[in-house]
Amino acid sequence: MLIKLTGGKIYDPAHGINGKVKNIYIRDGKIIQPPKGRMKVDKEYILNGKIVMAGAIDLHTHIGGGKVNLARTLMTHEHRTDPHPQTTLKRSGSGHATPDTLSAGYRYAEMGYTTCFEPALLPSNARQSHMEMADTPMLDTGGYALLGSDDFLLKMLADNADQSAINDYVAWTLHASQCIGIKVVNPGGINAFKFNQRSLDVDEDNQYYNISPRDIIRSLSRAIHELGVPHPLHVHCSNLGVPGNFESTLATMDAAEGHPIHLTHIQFHSYGTEGERKFSSAAAQIAEAVNRQKHISMDVGQILFGQTATISGDSMKQYTNHQHAHPKKWICMDIECDAGCGIVPFRYRDKDFVNALQWAIGLELFLLADDPWRIFLTTDHPNGAPFTSYPHLIRLLMDRSFRNDMLAHINPLAKQHTILDTLDREYSLYEIAIMTRAAPAKILGLKDRGHLAKNALADITVYDPQDNIEAMFEKPLYVFKSGELIVEKGQLKKIVRGKTQVVRPDYDISIEKKLNRYFNRYHTMKLSNFKISDDEMAEGIGSPVKVHACKDRIA
């Protein structure tokens, strides 16, 4: 079947195309070159100036796994008041900040997203995470395996293991847990909390292993680089949410020693201690450091006002944050000598000084970062706000007068402490297409998506231009997934299921001997049952894998 999208304005930053009118041809789920000669077009969509982008990619969204399910339980009260009725196509569901898996898939697709990544997949909880994502229809998914507070790695570091052995363990973890990247959360800190340490700065030691976050960042960022894994180490820095933590964030950048790293939800890590409330924006310092160091990328984790639930692997900091829980209930877990988690419901209020300044800090970071290829649009769903608020966030970035109207309503003291009103920048559609399509595909090593050239998956979103950019991004005119029309005028047309995106770096299988001894001695599960096979992914779990290439391993 040959499909033609005729006369759309194409935004394809991967190929430098900025609003040029072009036709797109689709066959067998992929974009093809314009056929030569006369070919029968089976279905044509006349787009006359409609905006065409690749399907959007969310590189950091908590959509599946044990802690998300705990958050759903903690938010039962909200789910009661927000049911999603069944339709002829859709299963029913519920919840706003922590929706069920089916609703999350539908809603992402309705907003033009076609690929999403769960950023904190605990290897010990990998099956649940993949099963939840398999039950998230419409989307291709993937996960970043959490390392850096697991006792096995910390023991290796404490024993001064060779870097090549660490590389083998990192690669083994990617294979065993069927992941595409490695995430580190409060490096060594989740582990230190189990030994009753309550904070851990970049150069402080985990008291049991005598290993610092700096050691962990250095070794893991180097491992990712040497293994040829495309996505840089995905880092949730030390001291999340602590005033003055921008210094830890700068130290973390330094700890990578020039290896690529991605700093996630950096808004929560860009706080100073100035002013009468000893809480201030350090967005300028952070943006300057990222602008200067080309091996560093970041996503923002923008907060938007309203009720949400914060879900994190950072049990140490979430334990401290429980004092701010709204409503007053919270969960903390220590998990399997692997990691941990903490869930704290939050209500961000525009009249609250701290919340209002957090909002401004996120926007400052967006507007001060000079390279849209190295900054990504996220709310750290649902931690800063639910993903459903992306269209609103895009408007804040693209529409200065709208932004200033919003700024007028926030806590007056916070307003005095932000430079937001001096920032004139308005993001262009081209830059939004970079941040939400081309750049995430590039930084994850996904050559088959995020662009609109020959051989790309026909994951395509078409928008009807409107003055209100929020309305435009909320309801795309068409969304195609692998060439199939799945959404029309913001309404679901067809249910499809995605695949799990993974990478497979080379490693020396003899690492399993050491791991097997460790598992038999300390774990409550066998190594053979810890690993997830491709068959299990496809059949039992229900999401077949799609392998993306790594570069050659260099050490």
């Binding site: 044990g66 399910n69 759903r72 069920d100 099963m131 189990k194 220590d334 000598c337 409550t524």
Partner: protein
């Protein structure tokens, strides 16, 4: 054929270190045997049917699906219960519940909700099996049913030397140990038994909380402990580096027991202001954690939910399956129990469709019985462990002509949609 590292699906520990020798009519557990898995594997050998039945008479599979689908379509208040199955059994049961507007619940939800209501209302601090095994220097085990319900808990979790502690682990057994034998592996200097009826556990916990908060106690006896014993225990908890409280909600069989669990959860939170402490709720047998997890991720709300209004609605009292059956508020029961032959549908007057273990011992013949394979013996699958974190793969040990519960439930959903 001999299989190694096989997962046992018969309790919430989900031990995955079994060695099983499997022939068509014989399943021998060569390593990792316990009373529960012995029984579970034995049931798989009992005389069984592989043919669907209508009121005890054999019928073709396709006819059984047709009849079951028409009963579901006709029903105005269907109830999907039991859910004693694997993860994919529950995933497909959820799709069916949504398609036919059913209430969905698990057989053991009474115990599940003693915990879930606390989790919903206050949250908690908990831990997992590997953490307890390696980190806990003090384990306070509330109740004594652990011996029957999780036979290998001591061997696999408590006995091994903790990785991170130099001194031996201290064990406190708090509960009604009258007439019960303390397990041999726990007899020793490191175990203390505090005999207290389950009804008095709340008193002990409250006294501990008050003592930790430096309040003066105006009583001298708390569930059989005097105030100096309480003070000693409070001191021990404060001094320990990682204490763990275990409890089985099933054992708190008394009105408003969720309030006892809430007290316990708050005690753990109190202790964490200065040291580390965690809870480990024992549960997950009969696939109950699997059922609650899947229900929560697919609908956003836990078990005891209804899809009758075309959208999920959760009410822990209203949609309790036992209550619905007792008060005749359901007009059709679809019972899923593929793991166990001794968990048949409850005796009820309403028409019943059973999707179950091939050797199910019925109290009353159901209208429709579709026998299915046993997860972890006849087909692969998954089961959640008690800690709700680890999902173990279940293995296929023998050939069978039987479909899985998930296959049959999917056929039913396709048939009525």
């Amino acid at each position: 054929m001999t299989f190694k590292n096989i997962t046992c699906p018969f309790c919430g520990l989900a031990c995955d270190d079994l060695t099983v020798s499997a022939k068509q009519n014989k399943l021998d557990i060569l390593a990792g045997q316990c009373t529960l898995n012995r029984a579970g594997f034995n049931q798989a050998l009992w005389e069984k049917t592989s043919t669907a039945m209508m009121q005890g008479k054999e019928i073709a599979h396709a006819t059984a699906i047709d009849k079951a689908a028409s009963l579901l379509k006709k029903s105005e208040a269907p109830l999907i219960g039991g859910l004693i199955t694997d993860v994919n059994g529950v995933r497909t049961a959820m799709a069916l519940a949504d398609a036919c507007g059913a209430v969905i619940d698990h057989q053991d939800s009474q115990a599940i909700f003693r915990n879930t209501r606390v989790l919903q209302d206050t949250g908690w601090m908990t831990t997992t099996l590997t953490e307890v095994r390696n980190r806990a220097d003090l384990v306070i085990m509330i109740g004594s049913q652990v011996l029957d319900d999780y036979p290998r808990f001591f061997e696999r979790i408590i006995q091994p030397k903790p990785q991170f502690r130099k001194k031996p682990r201290q064990i406190i057994l708090l509960g009604s140990w009258d007439g019960r034998k303390i397990p041999a592996e726990l007899k020793g200097d490191n175990t203390t038994v505090i005999k207290t009826p389950m009804e008095s556990v709340a008193e002990v916990i409250a006294a501990l909380r008050a003592t930790l908060a430096e309040r003066v106690l105006d009583n001298n006896q708390f569930g059989g402990m005097n105030s100096s014993a309480i003070q000693e225990l409070a001191f021990q908890l404060k001094e320990s580096q990682y204490s763990v409280f275990t409890w089985s909600a099933k054992e708190f069989d008394m009105p408003h027991s969720e309030l006892v669990i809430e007290q316990l959860v708050e005690l753990i939170k109190d202790l964490n202001t200065t040291t580390r402490s965690s809870g480990l709720p024992l549960g997950g047998s009969n696939g109950s954690i699997s059922a609650n997890q899947v229900c929560t991720w697919q609908s956003g709300i836990p078990l005891r939910s209804s899809f009758a209004q075309g959208q999920p609605q959760h009410d822990a009292l209203l949609f309790d399956s036992q209550r619905l059956l007792k008060n005749a508020e359901a007009d059709l029961l679809l019972w899923v129990s593929s793991l166990r032959s001794d968990q048949p549908p409850p005796d009820t007057d309403i028409p019943t469709i059973a999707i179950g273990h091939p050797a199910t011992q019925f109290k009353r013949l159901p209208e429709i019985f579709i026998p299915v394979g046993i997860p972890g013996i006849d087909h692969t699958g998954h089961t959640f462990r008690m800690d709700g974190v680890v999902t173990l793969p279940l293995h296929k040990l023998r050939e069978t002509s039987l479909l899985s519960a998930a296959d049959v439930l999917s056929q039913l959903t396709a048939r009525i949609s």
